[in-house]
């Protein structure tokens, strides 16, 4: 193992002191002089025609500066499918449809004004079940939306997700055992503690500054520019400045109606406009994780070799389309490449309904698919009479493999992960007791070396060093609490031979920071890390060249360690970094030491068949859990939780463990307690009393196990770890429950009611 100074160290997060003292400024805390407050009026119906809107009374309320509707604003369309206007005219399609918006001098006046807006509706028949919505004659959500070969009006989106590898039908015929099941997963919410918000501001020339908490500053900037064009402001500039982000988890991976509404209000009033969501809005008007109905079949031979995997999915798209509609492209990853499975078929449909519309959430479809796949692995193993541990080992992925989706697996620690989980759970001893206690495991694959979802998967970094050795790293990356700032500082410090405290990371302003595709796909450590390392190498070359002259030594004989440049041949030849920098700067024809580097990983966009090496490397992991199920109440208690992850290398074990703890806890909520309850399209539990995320009393002790495979492409060997922690959680728990009491729950969350009902049915 290399002798690292900064890599592999438990270094506290760079902004921790600001946050722990309450000095960090979140979007909620931000005030801009002259600022107005915006509020949004939502639809009271899930599907209705708008007959008339009367805003005159609201406009007359003292303190109101603007009232906007879909009838007096330009035709902006946003979202992945461009089917969503910020303010709706003619028709509403869900309870979260924005009908009008107000800007006023204080939030209470804005709220009062909303109550003065009169809207007349004609209620339309609504549809909330995606399978029903696919049928002929179902109410149409978007009448103008045409699909299929005949280009007929339909609720089925023109997103034909279809991955075929090998011959599933033939493989099925030749399988000794085939399991066939239907799984169901529902909406869950991100529950960022800081709610959504922004401040939009125009200068005198109509250039926009957006104070935002986005995870995708460069893509959001592009979205805002498109909106400016639609507003007749072509050629104007958009600048995105990030405040401290109060939680992301994928929720800020798209732009939303409220942002465009703030822009429209700011443009109309010529004043900065701030919109901050209430917690209730956060629950019903932001986009949760996609629900899905999953039909799955898998087969194996007598000796437990997987033969095929065949999955058909229906996804409730809700009333509009965000990037969330593309989660099937990520679901393909575990479907094709979790365990070795030679024949794969996956077909998914996204269907409009009058429900809320979904978005990215940590794992981006992977937890949904993995729940079905790895629950069924246990079912199949039982049919074949093989211990599920042995079954997994027999089919585990290995380095050098090319999967049916053409993923090239270089490093792969899956077997090590399965093995360590089995040891920790004392698998052979504890499996199969059926006495109310049980153990289970499940595994995962995720992109670990970026993900080429867009045409570029790149990130830029600029580094400059001042006369005293302070290293300014200006990165495209986004820190939303996960620790990108700190990991980048560690990588740069290691490369440059300085200390982490010498490094200042700037990542908050699109006018300053280079382009980056965003904090998604667990890509920041890998992509932004490689980018930062590349820039640091260039800076180091410059430093050594400058030092070579003053030290009378060849640059290749020089190195930097702990802020000192020294000769590897003659330790007496050395100089403090600052002295070299000043000498370079103040010489005749002087020079500043700075460099830029853009790293775009050598990964591939999926082709028309949805195949290609999406990521440079892949992250694997296995979770193991021991549960106790109360047969009287159906309550599931987690007694032991092991989370083993192949992370390539832990740049910062403490922050990495934080990702695993947080991910697994979110996953346990997904498995057992969390669900956004929609009744006829209306969110019935838009508060933390009724939406059950885990508290400090509920979370079990989680033991993270770090497996280091030192990936040749990763920065110092690292892979991504942002999402993996919650991917295999639900199937691991479901498998443990089955081992404990012999009931198989295929529908999340696994509530005590469902366990009790299944126990009753079993009797």
């Amino acid at each position: 193992m290399q002798d690292f100074i900064n890599i592999g160290k438990r270094i506290p997060k760079m902004d921790a002191e600001e946050k722990v003292t309450g000095k960090a400024i979140y979007i909620h805390d931000l005030k801009v002089p002259g600022m107005l407050y915006g509020k949004i009026l939502y639809s009271p119906h899930p599907h209705a025609k708008i007959l008339r809107i009367d805003t005159s009374e609201a406009e007359r309320l003292p303190g109101v500066r603007a009232v906007l509707t879909g009838y007096n604003t330009p035709p902006i369309k946003f979202g992945f499918y461009k089917d969503n206007p910020p303010l709706k005219a003619n028709k509403v399609r869900s309870y979260r449809d924005e009908v009008a918006a107000v800007a006023a001098i204080d939030p209470d006046i804005a709220e009062d004004a909303l109550n003065l807006i009169r809207v007349e509706y004609e209620i339309l028949p609504a549809i909330f079940d995606p399978e029903e919505a696919m049928k002929e004659g179902a109410p149409l959500i978007h009448e103008e939306h045409l699909g299929g070969k005949e280009k007929k009006p339909t609720n089925v989106l023109n997103l034909p997700w279809r991955l075929i590898a090998g011959d599933v039908d033939e493989a099925r015929k030749n399988s000794d055992y085939v399991a066939e099941d239907r799984f169901k997963v529902t909406w869950v919410a991100h529950c960022c503690l800081g709610t959504s918000g922004c401040v939009a501001q125009f200068d005198l020339k109509n250039n926009l500054t957006m104070y935002s908490n986005t995870q995708i500053p460069s893509l959001a900037q592009k979205d805002y520019l498109d909106a400016l064009s639609a507003m007749g402001l072509q050629g104007k500039k958009a600048r995105v400045i990030k405040a401290m982000i109060g939680g992301g988890f994928g929720s800020k991976l798209d732009t939303y109606a409220y942002e465009y509404i703030a822009i429209l209000l700011a443009h109309k009033t010529r004043k900065p406009v701030k919109i901050i969501f209430s917690r209730e809005e956060e629950f019903f008007a932001t986009s949760p994780r996609q629900p899905a109905i999953i039909h799955i079949a898998q087969g194996c031979t007598k000796d437990g070799k997987l033969t095929f995997r065949d999955i058909r999915m229906t996804l409730d798209n809700g009333a509009y389309t965000s990037w969330g509609a593309t989660t099937p492209s990520v679901m393909m990853m575990p479907i094709s490449s979790l365990y070795k499975v030679p024949n794969v078929r996956y077909v998914a449909k996204c269907v409009y309904t009058n429900n809320t519309w979904s978005q990215a959430m940590r794992g981006y479809g992977n937890p949904q698919a993995t729940f079905a796949i790895d629950s069924q692995i246990d079912i199949l193993a039982e049919m074949a009479g093989i211990d599920p541990l042995d079954f997994r080992m027999r089919n585990a992925n290995t380095p050098g493999e090319v999967t049916p989706q053409n993923f090239r697996i270089n490093t792969c620690g899956l077997r090590e992960c399965i093995d360590v989980v089995a040891q920790k759970l004392d698998w052979r001893q504890n499996r199969g007791r059926r006495d109310g206690r049980g153990i289970g495991m499940a595994s995962m694959i995720h992109v670990g070396g970026g993900a080429r979802v867009y045409k570029s998967d790149g990130c830029g970094t600029i580094i400059k060093i001042d006369d005293f050795g302070t290293v300014n790293v200006i990165t495209g990356a986004t820190d939303m609490g996960q620790g990108a700032d700190t990991v980048i500082a560690q990588i740069v410090a290691e490369e440059l031979g300085v200390r982490v405290e010498d490094v200042v990371v700037t990542h908050t302003d699109t006018d300053i920071c280079p382009w980056d595709v965003g904090a998604h796909a667990s890509r920041t450590t890998f992509v932004a890390g490689n980018s930062a390392r590349g820039a640091a190498k260039k800076v180091k070359e410059q430093l050594l060249e400058v030092a070579a002259k003053s030290l009378g030594e060849n640059p290749e004989n020089l190195d930097i360690r702990d802020r000192t440049i020294f000769s590897k041949n003659d330790p007496e030849k050395k100089s403090p970094l600052g002295k070299i920098l000043r000498a370079a700067h103040y010489a005749a024809g002087g020079k500043m030491v700075m460099a830029e580097h853009f790293y775009d990983p050598p990964n591939e966009n999926l082709d028309k068949e949805f195949k290609g090496n999406l990521s440079v490397t892949y992250a694997y992991g296995t979770h193991g859990v021991e549960v106790e199920v109360d047969k009287e109440t159906g309550q599931v208690k987690i007694l032991k939780y092991i989370a083993a992850h192949d992370v390539g290398r832990a740049i910062n074990p403490m922050l990495l463990e934080g990702q695993v703890y947080g991910g697994a806890t979110m996953g346990i909520g997904y498995a057992l307690t969390e669900r956004l309850i929609l009744q006829d399209g209306k969110v019935m539990n838009p508060n933390f009393l009724d939406y059950k995320m885990l508290t400090a009393k509920d979370v079990p002790n989680i033991e993270p196990i770090v497996v280091e495979t030192d990936d040749q492409f990763g920065p110092f060997g690292a892979k991504g770890i942002g999402e993996p922690g919650l991917v295999p959680t639900a199937p691991a728990i479901a498998n443990a429950i089955y081992d404990a009491v012999g009931v198989r729950i295929k529908d999340l969350p696994i509530t005590p009611e469902k366990v009790l009902a299944a126990l009753k049915e079993k009797k």
């Binding site: 921790a16 722990v20 800081g194 939680g247 917690r279």
Partner: protein, 155 residues
């Protein structure tokens, strides 16, 4: 609605302010006094992000009527560092043990921990979990927070 005079001690300093009687303590702290370290996570007393100490005990300031603090002592996160800017041992432990990610729950969490440790200098893990059960955190899974509080209690 007429304003009323409210006098109380904020982080050890006496303060007098005219407030509308319907305001919550959180509104007075954040909007009137610009003590933005106290966060609003839900506005309904359910998430604990707005936790402050009132005469040493935790309250959810987002549902606590401002006028009720008349004559009492309020401690916010801004009051936890000493005059020289030195951090409280709980704050140091939060930093050192990775108990902070996005940080939005952190001020409330730290104050709940302080109220706990002021009352019970050597809490068990169960008591720590109970002590912060009213403070939701979505990032950390709580475990590093629990560890930080344990470490702080041992100093």
């Amino acid at each position: 609605m007429g304003k009323q005079t409210l006098s109380f001690t904020l982080n050890g300093e006496p303060i007098q302010i005219e407030v509308e009687p319907h305001l919550t303590l959180l509104q007075v702290l954040r909007d009137k006094l610009e003590f933005t370290g106290t966060k609003e996570g839900c506005g309904m007393g359910e998430c604990g992000a707005c936790t402050v100490l009132l005469n040493g005990k935790t309250v959810n300031s987002c549902i606590f009527p401002a006028l009720e603090v008349e004559g009492k002592s309020v401690t916010t996160i801004e009051g936890l560092t000493d005059g020289q800017g030195n951090l409280h041992s709980i704050q140091k432990a939060f930093i050192e043990y990775g108990a902070i990610q996005c940080g939005f729950c952190t001020p409330g969490m730290v104050l709940s921990a302080k109220a706990l440790l002021d009352e019970n200098t050597k809490p068990t893990e169960e008591e720590i979990r109970h002590g912060i059960a009213g403070n939701l955190c979505r990032c950390t899974g709580y475990l590093q927070i629990i560890q930080a509080i344990k470490e702080a209690s041992e100093q």
